[in-house]
Every structure is written in C-alpha cells, then in structure tokens.
Amino acid sequence: MDTAAYQPIAPARKPFKRALNKTVLFVLGRSLQSLSRRDPLIKHEVAGWPHDFTLMLRIRPDGGAMAVTRTATGHLRYLGANYDESKADVVIYLKSIETAFAMLTGQLGIDVAYAQHGMCARGDLSYTVSVVRVLNITEAYLFPAFMSRRLMKRLPPIPGFRKHYLRIRTYLLGIAFGK
C-alpha cells in the first residue's frame, strides 16, 4: 500500500463563525453587566448567587470565552474573554463551534442545547437553573420576541415599556460601555 496517499488531515478553520461567536460572547457579557443593574428579574436572580461567584462560558477548545462575576453590590461585572478558567466557580463549555453558533445567534434555546448535550459544565451546579433564567432574560432583551419565543418555553414576564427601553439602552450604552 502506498501510505503517501494517506496523509494527516489538520482541522479546518471557520473564521466567520469563530469571529461571530466571539463578538456575541462580548455582547452577552456586556449586556449581562448592564442589565444586572437595571432589570429587576435579573437583579432578583443574581441576588441569590454567592458573593464573588464567577461564571464562565467557553467554546471548546479555543473558540472564545466570556466571564462575569457577582460583585458585592449584587451586580454582574464582565471580566472579558481571557479570564483564568481555573478561577471560575462554574465553567459552561459549549462543545462545538456549530452548537455555539446556533445558540449565540438565536437558533437554539439553552434548554434544548442542554437536552441535545451541546453543553457540559465544571464546578458547582447549584445555580445552573438560575443562570439559565438570567441568560434567557438577557436573550429576551437582545432578540426580538418572535425569535425569543422559539428559544424559550415561556417568555420572561417583562413589561412592554421596560423591555423596549432597556433593549434600546443596552444596545446604545450597555454593550459599548457596560453602563
């Protein structure tokens, strides 16, 4: 057999999806920081998390990451994309770039992604359900209602005016400045 015909195959890159995933993780991190100061539903959830609780989302193996931590004032602070994974209390890994892309672009809900084994997690899972609620509420602000309805069992109970006001505010100030 001519073994020269059978060479190793290096993994291809998907630069567009990779870049978009990283961008959305940044948007998500900044939105969490901003909304955790203003949305009462997120405030209520985060209040139940331990002080200094740090949550990280990471696309395996190196497709991007973002981390947020709960501050003493009960808000979330975005820690960037390069936070030391070993210091996080919980790391939620998205198993593939495709699952991450589907989730982060509003094609796949968090519950369904978990049901399809698209995610795994290291650390204290006691707050997982609360974390999922916070992510769902954040998505309800970032995505239009017709998309959110596909992603969640029920839309979070956010009054219409607040939803529109905080959505505009998050896109104008929250993502850019984390305010």
Partner: protein, 396 residues
C-alpha cells in the same frame, strides 16, 4: 417524531434472576479484577443482604478486600474520600455496592477517585467533564426505585459547605448490575410502594421530558407496564418473588430511561419537599406525580395519553375515547395512589406526609432552582410551583 438530535448511553450489563448474584465472582474475573471493596449500609447488613453477597464468593478463590457497611442515608464527600483511602490501603481493585441510592452514589464517588487519582472527590464535580473511562465496578440494588445502578449521575453531599454536589458522566455507570429478587424481598410494604412510585415517576417523566428519545421511550414504556401490572400485588403480598423481580427490573428500566432523558417538575417539587420538610423521596414522588402530569398536560397531552396503555392495560385503553386518554392516565395514577394508601398507608398528600402549610412557599422557591426543572416540558415558575404545592397539600 424523532428528535432532531439525541444521545443514549447504556453500557451496563444487566444480570437478572432470583439467584443472579451467584455469578458475581465470575463477573469480576471476567472483568479482570479480583479484590473488591464492598460498600453498604447498616440496614443491608441487618437484613442479611450482605451475607448473600459474601456467600456468593465461597469457593471463588477471590478475597474481599474489605466490607464497609456504615454508609449514611445521605452519601457524603467525607465518606467517599475516606473509603477511597481504605480501598488503596487494602489494595482493592474494584468496588461492589450493595444498597440503595446513597450507597451506589458513594461507590460512584469512590470510583472517580480510585480511577482518576486524588483525595477529594469534590474536585471532580460537574456535568460531562470526567476525563475518560473509570474502573469497572459492580452494583446490587436493594430497593426497586432509584435506578441508580444504571444512571449516569451521583448526588453527594458536602458536609462542610452544607450543599449537595452533582456529578454527571456516562463513565459513572457500573460494569454490571445484579437484579436479584432476594435483595428486595424484605422491603416493607410501604417502602415497596414508595420506591415503586419513584420508579413510575422516573419512567413517566422520562417519557414526556424535552430530552426524550425513542430508546429512552422503550425503557420507560416497559417500566410503566411492569409497575402497572405488579406494584399493587407486591405491596399486598411482599413475598411475591416474581413480582419483586418484575419491580426491580422496572426500576432498572426506568433508571435507564431517565438517565438518558432526565426527569421533570415532579422531581423538582420532590427534591424541594425533601429538603424543606424531610419527606422521603418516594413518598414525595407518589404525592406529586398526578399534579406534575396535569401541569404538563397542555404541552404533552398526546404523550400522557400514550401512557394509559402500559399503565392500565389494553382493555382500559381501548374503552377510553382518544381525547380522554390523557386525563384517564392521570386518573389511573390517582387510583394507584388510593390503592397503595389503602394497602400500605402511603401518604397521598403533603398534609398526610406531615408538611406544614407555612413550608409550601419555601418548597416552591427551592423547586424552581432544581436542575430537573430544566428538562420539564413546561417552564416551572415560582407561582406555578406554589400552586402545585398547594394542590398537593390538600388533595391526593
């Protein structure tokens, strides 16, 4: 309709029979291990069940490294860490768990440490992150309810922090589970009824979960059929060895089903009720099951209707108009609860289980943060959980 994507893992060899454990030493040799640490609890020893296992080793040529029968009712990271040290000290090369959920979860924890190294199992907590296969270990369940002998998870309490830690990995599953009717023959009727309803809940919630798949459906279906046909009889005639074997098999099948498709809001409510009011898990499942099915009726009516056939049999299914089958399934669950209450005194409501009305809010708040809620078809919010708890408080 098939799910767009699913996973199913069931690497456990099942050995079922009235004397299944006689082949335990042969299974060890087959797996190339020879010196087990046996893990159990005081109740198992008292009931003479550890002796059945030890007797099976006669003339096998295998030495039991140690028998530890002091696992507490709630498995603890401290005990796991200590037993991993004992395993190493006695130069064991495998583990045999004889007991219920706590004993089996303890064995799973020990197996993590002795396979992957380290002295504190807490470092391995998480979901689907254990690196690689663990050593083969063996399980002989002594209750017919938890299904832990075939599940991919372990819940181990951390006594220092006062929290329960979750470990999820397909590698947690044992090499072989022995479903031996002798091991459940001495279970008292009320405990038989409660564990049977736990298994029924596993199967029914697995069948309607958002993670359901055709393979888990098959296991859930058979489990429900066996429970529907045998639970009443065995609760009334505890020495019915055939019925015992059927229920033990049903528990294993239900465990396989929910290990691959998860459970739902009945478990969320049950875990919370256990934590707040110390109601045993099986009793809580018995109380909440019909209410959980009702809660999911709008989204899962067709699936709940399906379950009438295995639960009540072909005659009842055929006699019930199609549009009434889902309600009839729930009615059959209630009828089973009533019958078990009449024969064993099993509590039907939270009130009968000793829960106080002022505890209902705490139960609701805790239930919505339970991981089982994620795979429930309907979203469980605090107001829903409170309404469920209030209904389950007064009614059966």
């Amino acid at each position: 309709m098939l799910p767009s994507y699913y996973e199913f893992s069931f690497p456990v060899k099942i050995i079922s029979g009235h004397t299944a454990l006689n082949n335990l030493p042969a299974e060890l040799i087959q797996s190339n291990v020879q010196r087990p640490l046996i893990v159990s609890d005081p109740g198992v020893t008292k009931a003479g069940l550890a002796k059945i296992v030890i007797d099976a080793f006669a003339e096998s040529g295998l030495t039991i490294g140690a028998l530890y029968d002091q696992v507490p009712p709630e498995s603890s990271t401290l005990v796991v860490n200590q037993l991993a040290a004992l395993y190493r000290e006695r130069e064991c090369d495998t583990i045999i768990a004889i007991g219920g959920g706590s004993v089996i979860d303890t064995a799973k924890g020990i197996n993590i440490l002795v396979s992957l190294g380290g002295s504190d199992v807490r470092n391995y907590r998480g979901a689907e992150t254990l690196p690689g296969p663990l050593r083969p270990f063996f399980v002989a369940p002594t209750t017919a309810g938890t299904g832990s002998e075939v599940t991919n998870s372990a819940v181990i309490a951390d006594p220092e922090k006062g929290v329960k830690m979750l470990f999820v990995s397909e590698y947690l599953m044992p090499r072989t589970a022995f479903i031996d009717s002798r091991m459940t023959l001495t279970l008292p009727p009320k405990l038989t009824a409660a564990t049977g309803m736990d298994a029924l809940t596993h199967a029914m919630e697995a069948y309607i979960s958002i993670q359901k798949n055709p393979l888990s459906d098959a296991f859930a279906w058979q489990a429900i059929r066996l429970i529907g046909a045998n639970l009443r009889n065995v609760a009334q005639n505890p020495s019915d060895q055939e019925g015992r074997l059927a229920l033990a098999n049903a528990s294993t099948m239900a465990g396989t089903a929910f290990s691959n498709s998860m459970v739902g809001c009945v478990h969320s409510m049950g875990h919370a009720t256990g934590a707040v009011a110390h109601v045993p898990h099986g009793i809580a499942m018995n109380i909440f099951l019909p209410f959980g099915l009702e809660f999911n009726l709008e989204r899962r009516a067709d699936l709940i209707a399906d379950l009438l056939l295995p639960l009540a049999g072909a005659d009842v299914y055929a006699a019930t108009p199609a549009d009434q089958r889902a309600r009839q399934t729930i009615a059959e669950v209630r009828r089973l609860k009533e019958d078990l209450h009449a024969s064993t005194g099993l509590a039907r409501s939270l009130q009968e289980a000793g829960v106080k009305p002022e505890q209902l809010e705490d139960i609701a708040k805790l239930a919505i943060n339970d991981g089982s809620a994620m795979m429930n078809p309907e979203e469980l919010r605090v107001e829903d959980a409170l309404a469920l708890a209030k209904r389950a408080y007064e009614h059966g």
